[in-house]
């Protein structure tokens, strides 16, 4: 763990305690079993709002606390540990980053306070096909009067069911443009997507949705860089959540190695398993450094954000992939049962891996950044 400021330590400890008490995995299980359409527990989200978490990266002048991405990452790591479902990541990190980085003063004043107080849930709608490919899109925004007509579909939109507004990427005449689109505009329809991690994904369809030029986020036709930057904020945050999920899987496995007995001894006394644990521990520590470096580069607005972020998503991704498999393997039969929590971690691991670019995507991007 990075050397933290007093406020950061306080928020991390608060997150640890609150999530353990108010949002243990059992809550997630109940939500899944209830088949709720929302795919998160509303009281959990209200609790987060009360603690001010949706305002962590939002400056004080817009109703947040302006504590930055590393601080947000500390909370996301705890959320990842206990698989807490909520719109926090999609809206207060990705959506808020979009408005913060791309928004004009009016958009900031209008939207950021509402993200911070939870009255708005703003999420990014970017992908259209099975794999994350942010610049390949069919969705079009055609000039129409003083505004645009949006036509097309988006898929795997996070918290797409709960969202009040969307940041939508669409082709315009000379490039890509981002738009902030209220979710209740005429012509938008949403369909839930049932993923194995029981979260609130939706596919969106835009049919002749009329929006105004004031809905443009950033500059017309020049949305690619902005989109990349928003995605990088999201990817860094995802890697914090992933690290938390992997760290919890590691702790569960280590605990099992120390208590499960076979052949008359605890299985952690077998060298094959001891070395596997040592190896996973090393990977966890190395990937934690990458994750923290990525969040810091966002806070510093450093020039190496893409490099650090792709490093982080790929390295944490490698760790979580292996860790989630070993979680099941080392637990043996019990790990295969739905009654035990291991399966939740495995399922979540693969869903989050695919989100905003998998390991292959980020390794390729890293190589291109280094010119090969």
């Amino acid at each position: 763990m990075a050397a933290l400021t007093e406020v950061q330590s306080m928020i991390r400890d608060q997150a640890k305690t609150w999530i353990r008490e108010e949002s243990p995995v059992e809550k997630f299980r109940q939500m899944r079993d209830s088949g709720s359409d929302l795919r998160y527990v509303p009281e959990t989200w209200s609790g987060m709002i009360e603690m001010g978490w949706p305002g962590i990266i939002i400056p004080e002048q817009y109703g947040g606390s302006g504590l930055g991405y590393l601080t947000f990452g500390l909370v996301l790591e705890e959320i990842g540990r206990h698989l807490t479902a909520s719109p926090l990541f999609a809206s207060a990190l990705v959506g808020a980053s979009g408005i913060l980085i791309g928004g004009n003063e009016e958009q900031k004043q209008n939207l950021l306070p509402r993200i911070a107080d939870g009255s708005a849930i703003i999420t990014l709608a970017v992908d259209e096909g099975p794999r994350h490919d942010p610049y390949r899109m069919e969705m079009e925004a055609k000039k129409s009067g003083s505004g645009f007509l949006l036509e097309g579909t988006k898929t795997f939109v996070q918290e797409g069911l709960a969202a009040t507004d969307f940041i939508v990427a669409a082709k315009t005449k000379k490039g890509i443009t981002l738009f902030v689109v209220p979710g209740n505009e005429k012509g938008i329809s949403r369909e839930p997507i049932n993923t194995m991690d029981s979260r609130g994904y939706a596919s969106l369809s835009f049919s002749n949705v009329q929006i105004e030029s004031t809905n443009v986020l950033g500059s017309l036709d020049e949305g690619s860089d902005l989109l990349d930057r928003i995605l990088d904020c999201g990817r860094a945050g995802l890697s914090a959540e992933m690290l938390g999920t992997g760290a919890q899987a590691f702790d569960m496995t280590l605990d099992y190695l120390k208590t499960r007995e076979q052949f008359g001894r605890v299985i952690g006394s077998f060298q094959a398993l001891g070395h596997r644990a040592a190896d996973l521990f090393g990977k966890m520590e190395l990937s934690r450094s990458c994750m923290e470096a990525a969040l810091r580069s966002l806070d510093d607005q450093a020039s190496d954000i893409p490099e650090k972020v792709s490093l982080s998503k790929a390295k944490v991704g490698d760790f979580l992939y292996e860790m989630s498999n070993q979680l099941i393997q080392i637990h043996g039969g019990i790990g295969m049962t739905d009654e035990f929590d291991a399966g939740f971690y495995l399922k979540r691991a693969r869903v989050i891996e695919a989100c905003f670019g998998n390991r292959a995507f980020h390794k390729d991007r890293y190589a291109r950044l280094f010119g090969f």
Partner: protein
């Protein structure tokens, strides 16, 4: 605090500019292949100036030849030297003295031992080797059989050590010896220091798969040392050596990545030269490309982790359990670098000598072969994993009985 360091940095800069002989800029630290008498004299002058300043081992107490500086200040010295093409040759000249023997003597030594041994190390005048491994005691170090017998005021030592780096040119040796064979194997071991220049000690250099090496076999045939040279309590040498090996591990955690530190072309540039790129600028061997990416990510995550652990220790690089993780990851980085270099060079990467090959191609072969030792010495890859699983993760002992 920051201000004080800034002031210190200026002082160092001025001192180095005034005292470092300009003739030595760009020469190698060990003065290898350097023949001119003038250079030798300048080298000796520089060593002595550093020693007088206490900067050979700057963090040690002044009374033992150090300068009582903080780790941060010591780092500034090496940074400022680097900027001016200067270097500190003393750690190299003292063999295992500055990095391993000295810190252990500081912790376990008597006042007399500190006063007699540390100044020679801190000034680079006395070179130390370490007699730890034996032909039948490698990773299982505690099964060593070299024995020391009580003979009044002295110990009489018999046995054979191996992998004693620099034994043929060292003046002193720190050796693990068995002083009680009636108890469990870790319980009857002591750590003694003995002079190398005596009838009962002989050494024989070892040639490795990579060519010549600093390693020797060292034979003790009724070698003697005074009883006052016992470091730590009798029969408790195992705890002394565990500490010593922690210092060793600590010194091995910094992965040197040629691509990051020197003016050699980076690995990706080399790859583009030897392998070529496709029309999109991607390396023409997709499999190699992925492994190269993963290697570069390993390099970066290793160095970020070294930075993070240093920062978490509040600037104080502690001899911590985490060093075991870093040793293994430094090993992966170093071995990965030369494996990939060898591979991307293709047939040009396998030369042994001669004009068909460039100097870089030939040196990589030797580096690659030498690199196989990194996962063996200083506690093998597997031993590090034992340490992690037992000491950090709290899993039960898997290997040692008794």
């Amino acid at each position: 605090m920051t201000n004080n360091l800034d002031v210190f940095r200026e002082e160092v800069e001025v001192w180095v500019a005034e005292q470092f002989p300009k003739s030595l800029v760009g020469s190698t630290m060990g003065l290898e292949g350097e023949t001119s008498e003038e250079a030798k004299a300048d080298f000796e002058l520089w060593r002595q100036r550093l020693a007088d300043k206490g900067w050979g081992a700057p963090t040690w107490p002044k009374e033992y030849g150090g300068a009582e500086l903080s780790d941060a200040e010591a780092k500034i010295i090496s940074q400022e030297m680097g900027k001016q093409g200067a270097f500190n040759p003393i750690p190299l000249m003292a063999g295992m003295g500055v990095t391993m023997v000295g810190p252990t003597v500081l912790e376990y030594g008597t006042e007399d031992q500190k006063a007699r041994h540390l100044p020679g190390i801190a000034s680079g005048k006395i070179r130390w080797c370490l007699g730890l491994s034996e032909p039948n005691a490698g990773s299982d170090l505690a099964s060593l059989s070299t024995r020391a017998e009580d003979d009044g005021d002295t110990y009489v030592i018999n046995g054979q050590k191996i992998w004693t780096s620099g034994a043929d040119i060292s003046q002193w040796c720190g050796a693990l010896v068995r002083t009680d064979s009636s108890v469990g194997k870790r319980d009857g071991i002591s750590f003694v220091m003995l002079p190398m220049d005596q009838k009962g000690v002989s050494t024989k250099p070892i040639q490795l798969i990579s060519g010549i090496s600093p390693f020797c076999e060292t034979f003790f045939d009724d070698a003697r040392t005074d009883k006052k040279e016992l470091l730590g309590p009798l029969n408790e040498g195992w705890s002394v050596v565990k500490r010593l090996l922690q210092h060793e591990r600590q010194s091995q955690t910094q992965a040197r990545s040629p691509s990051a530190s020197s003016n050699k072309p980076s690995l990706q540039e080399l790859a583009k030269t030897y392998v070529g790129v496709d029309s999109a600028g991607r390396l023409d061997d997709p499999d190699l490309r992925v492994r190269l990416i993963e290697h570069l990510m390993d390099v970066q995550s290793h160095s970020l982790t070294v930075g993070r652990i240093t920062e978490e220790a509040r600037g104080k690089v502690e001899v911590s359990a985490a060093a075991s993780i870093l040793k293994n990851s430094a090993t992966r980085v170093a071995q990965g670098n030369s494996e990939l270099t060898l591979e991307l060079m293709g047939n040009q990467g396998v030369g042994w000598e001669g004009e068909n090959f460039s100097a870089d191609e030939l040196s990589n072969v030797r580096d690659w072969l030498w690199g196989k030792a990194i996962s063996i010495y200083g506690g093998s890859y597997e031993v590090q994993n034992n340490i992690i699983s037992k000491n950090i993760l709290g899993l039960p002992e898997t290997t040692q009985k008794g």
